[in-house]
């Protein structure tokens, strides 16, 4: 058995103006095959106008075990939200 083709992550832009969104993965020998396979596998019903493929090994992620500590700095900063400010009655457009 030959070693399988590398794995790719697939991102699809569903319509102009929207961001690409991760939809799944596939195997392909090279970029061109990855894009063509992605088209056949993930856009059979007009689901996309643009596709990105990225080798799975090149996608890096935060460690779920450290998520709490990693994201902690943003949690206690209520002053970053407009809702933590008092707007006096009658003041508009603020």
């Amino acid at each position: 058995m030959t070693k399988g083709w590398p794995q790719w992550e697939v991102f699809v832009r569903s319509e102009a103006g929207l961001a690409h969104k991760h939809v799944g993965s596939l195997h392909a020998a090279d970029v061109r095959m990855a894009l063509e396979n992605a088209r056949d596998l993930y856009t059979r019903r007009n689901e996309g106008v643009s596709i990105w493929v990225v080798r799975s090994e090149d996608v890096h992620a935060t460690d779920p075990d450290e998520a709490e500590a990693f994201f902690e700095p943003s949690e206690d900063k209520r002053y970053r939200f407009p809702t933590s400010y008092h707007v006096p009655e009658g003041v508009e457009h603020l």
Partner: protein, 326 residues
Amino acid sequence: MYTSISDGIDGNANGGDEREQAFNARLDRAMKIEPSDWMPEAYRKTLVRQISQHAHSEIVGMLPEGNWITRAPSLHRKLILLAKVQDEAGHGLYLYSAGETLGTPRDEMVAALHSGKAKYSSIFNYPTLAWADVGAIGWLVDGAAIINQIPLTRCSYGPYARAMVRICKEESFHQRQGFEIMWTLAHGTTAQHAMAQDALDRWWWPSVMMFGPPDSESTHNEQSQRWRIKLFTNDELRRKFIDQTVPQSEKLGLRIPDPQLRWNERTQHYEIGPIDWEEFYRVIKGDGPCNKDRLQTRIDAWEDGAWVREAATEHARKRAERSDAA
């Protein structure tokens, strides 16, 4: 600090109590488990078995219908059938992708199918003898698959649940095109009507069996329900299938091949005659009408395609080399 998503499942097998508690807490809150989260080994193993078995069923499931692509009665029906069979290939691939996130390479799953170690749905070991069988499969088999799959869109494992959402979106076309074939035949000539009835006669019981052994004999139910990778029992799903399909058969003007079938006013469900579980186990164990043929077809496809896979790999290597040199 960070992980690559392709090697996300590292040495987290020995989680111990704390991690197990966190895992159970996620289940209790109906939160999804994602590939790089800690999970008990038994959960991982059961999921790999369930997902790969599901993937194999989609792939082997292309064969009975693929058999009729060249003989579809019109160009229109041929296009529909091609699209439907292509969808099933897609379903298999979404599921293999979901299975791979658990750390089992795709080639390993495929090898387990070819060696006979892995199972697939026993329904695909029955032959498609006439065009009406394509209608019966879409109506009954895809209909049963939908009932099985809709709850799984809410299952605990993220990649599996997301694959199911895509699959379910595509299945309803499968069921409708099958029903339409049955409708056309049932309202056609006497011979066509008889062909539709014959297909229903042969596919009804295997479809009823698709949901697996009765709850009294099913071994995995409890743990899998706790893990939320099975949300209803086999018998619950089966009952749902029967309740929704019997009225459809009446609209078609076809007869369900079960003399004991009757509506129970008190339970508000249909009651059916005894299921031939002997047949079910015989087919599962490899003794159905087409088991050998189905598996051999898959093995041949894999082996005959080996040169294509090698050529594509070599082509990719050469191109990469050339672009490095440039």
